[in-house]
């Protein structure tokens, strides 16, 4: 059904040895609108089964990037592939679920009819429509409201319906552009649950968001976008990993203590030595150095940054 293009073969090795297949790949994707640069060279790889967070302040180019991936707009330059086919390939869209950022479905249709329309547009087997529609309504919490006109839906319900539409037909890749922007805390929790469910089924999820806490909780890996450029792309665990450490030390003289400052910005607090801006890989070296100098280590407490703190640091570094 799907034609694999030559471009897929030319894709670079996947980001992670555990990942065997690249689902999204872009190389120097640039999008300009007149003199405005919306995206200034996006190079990105997302592997199958990954939950990938795309973070950035408003206007960073996140939505433009998603539209380029879906093929709703053409890149000014650069190339890419989606599900093994060049960007914009029509057949690849059969295996794609997409929730746009700003949308309003036909107000004169019922929720069920919107879902049915998308079953038809996605060319799903007719026999599967009923089951798909019911499952989608239940998953997004709209059971009981499926026969109401979309015109009577609240913004949050419209967003739930949009999610349901994106989940139809068991897509291999789901692109969600700010899926929780209109949702209350309960709705946000539902979205996290839905994404967790997708992860369990091995579905790749590309989540556009400016809600850092949300991304931190559900994503395996994030890219941070600012002013059309990726300023960081790492697993969430690494991004928020210890950049600081506190070590409780006995039996070291002031000179030996002072010599440890070579490992990072150090502050003394009684028995505790606090290191800031330390590469986590070097923590064992610090401990070894303390022991070598005749000290005893009573405790090592790795610090943990929130993604929010890290996000602002990275933005500042990128803009410096």
């Amino acid at each position: 059904m799907t034609q694999l293009s030559g471009e897929t073969a030319a894709a670079p090795p996947p980001f992670d040895a555990r990942q065997t297949e690249t689902v999204i790949f872009t190389q120097d994707l640039v999008k300009r609108y007149g003199s405005t640069v919306a995206l200034a060279g996006l190079t990105l790889t997302v592997g199958r089964g990954e939950v990938f967070g795309f973070l950035g302040p408003n206007g960073a180019g996140k939505t433009t990037a998603v539209k380029l991936l879906v093929g709703l707009t053409a890149p000014t330059s650069g190339s890419g592939s989606l599900l093994g086919a060049p960007l914009g390939d029509r057949d690849a869209r059969r295996r794609l679920g997409y929730l746009p950022e700003l949308f309003r479905y036909q107000p004169w249709l019922t929720g069920r009819e919107v879902l049915r329309l998308h079953c038809e547009l996605a060319r799903l087997e007719r026999g599967s429509w009923r089951g798909e529609i019911e499952a989608a309504l239940v998953t997004v919490g709209l059971e009981g409201r499926g026969d109401d006109r979309v015109a009577t839906y609240s913004k949050g319900m419209q967003q739930r319906l949009g999610l349901g539409v994106a989940l139809l037909g068991q897509p291999e890749l789901v692109l969600l552009d700010e899926p929780t922007s209109a949702l209350d805390p309960v709705g946000r929790q539902d979205v996290r649950r839905i994404i967790a469910g997708l992860r369990e089924r091995g579905v790749t999820v590309f989540l556009n968001s400016h809600l850092l806490g949300e991304v931190e909780r559900v994503c395996d890996r994030v890219a941070i976008l600012d002013r059309g450029r990726v300023v960081a792309s790492q697993p969430v665990s690494e991004l928020v990993a210890a950049r600081s450490v506190r070590i409780q030390v006995h039996g070291l003289g002031p000179t030996e203590r002072a010599s440890l400052a070579r490992y990072g910005r150090m502050a003394e607090d009684g028995e505790w030595l606090a290191f800031a801006d330390v590469d986590p890989e070097r923590v064992p070296d610090i401990v070894a150095a303390i022991v070598a100098a005749g000290g005893r280590v009573a405790a090592v407490l790795p610090g943990r940054e929130s993604l929010e703190e890290r996000f602002f640091e990275l933005l500042a570094e990128g803009r410096a």
């Binding site: 700003l102 479905y105 949009g162």
Partner: protein
């Protein structure tokens, strides 16, 4: 060996896909017309109009002091006036349904959801055109024949080509629908709709003026009319409708009327448009749709 049949089958599947895409959007457009109560409002008002005009025609005949031939001429003129109103309503309907076809979907973001599916933009444009085209043609035929039938029953005047009259009005509606859809691929709903209505008005006026120029032998005015016909063939179709509703020329001659008297009468067509003008109208629609597809396909969403 099996390569050729397989390729043919793949082509057929592709074709099936495309027809399916057009059919999906056409059905959606029809459903929209029904759900928005547009069709019902039109049908209700049309039935009312047919009843009221039938009553008026009957009263008019009862009180007519004119001889039969003159009365027939008067009835045909009034019928054309009523037909003009129907064609005007249809033209506005075509603009009102056509203008939001693409622009409305882009503005609401529906287009993003629809076009993320395996459907071509061409299918979306053609689907809307087919769906709303069915509404336009059905209305033209039902309303046109309904009115002509009512007049025939009450006055006994049956125009020479009633089916052609309805067909020409439908053609006029399709031309305007094409224009509205074309404009909606790049302009907002209100802007595109307003431009279509203004162009329609200018085209009608230029048709009247152009005919006057032709009958009175004024070349400059006649040329202006020709240019207007080329820019947009709505008036060509309308003139066809009028010609189909007029009594035979023999009647006019027997009453001693010559075309000069009707030179500037907006409700008189000197002749049915020649086949080349009608063929041009069809080509105009095809080119308009192709342009709409090309413009929408290049549009950034």
């Amino acid at each position: 060996m099996s390569g050729a049949p397989l390729a043919a089958r793949a082509r057929r599947d592709r074709l099936g896909d495309e027809v399916a895409g057009i059919a999906t959007i056409a059905r959606l457009s029809l459903l929209e017309a029904l759900r928005r109560r547009l069709l019902w409002a039109l049908i209700g008002l049309t039935v009312l109009l047919v009843v009221v005009t039938a009553w008026a025609f009957q009263r008019l005949l009862e009180a007519s002091p004119l001889p039969a031939d003159e009365t027939q001429l008067a009835v045909s003129q009034l019928l054309i006036l009523v037909a003009f109103m129907f064609s005007f309503v249809l033209a506005m309907t075509a603009v009102f349904v056509g203008s939001p076809a693409i622009a409305g979907e882009v503005e609401s973001g529906e287009a993003l959801a629809i076009l993320s599916r395996p459907i071509r933009r061409a299918d979306v444009v053609l689907g809307h055109w087919v769906g709303f085209g069915i509404v336009v043609v059905t209305y033209a035929i039902l309303a046109g024949l309904g009115e002509i039938g009512a007049v025939a029953l009450t006055t006994g005047y049956l125009p020479p080509y009633p089916l052609f009259a309805a067909g020409f009005v439908a053609l006029e509606g399709l031309v305007l629908l094409t224009l509205a859809v074309l404009l909606s691929t790049r302009l907002g709903v209100v802007t595109g709709g307003a431009i279509a209505v203004v162009l329609y008005g200018i085209n009608w006026v230029m048709g009247v003026v152009g005919q006057a120029g032709a009958i009175l032998g004024n070349d400059a005015i006649r040329t202006a009319g020709t240019i207007s016909r080329i820019v947009m063939p709505t008036d060509v179709a309308w003139r066809g409708a009028m010609a189909s509703l007029e009594p035979p020329t023999a009647l006019l001659s027997s009453l001693g009327r010559t075309s000069v008297i009707f030179a500037v009468n907006p409700f008189y067509a000197a002749a049915s448009p020649p086949p080349d003008q009608l063929a041009y109208a069809v080509v105009w629609i095809a080119v308009g749709l192709s342009l709409a597809i090309a413009l929408f396909s290049r549009r950034e969403l």
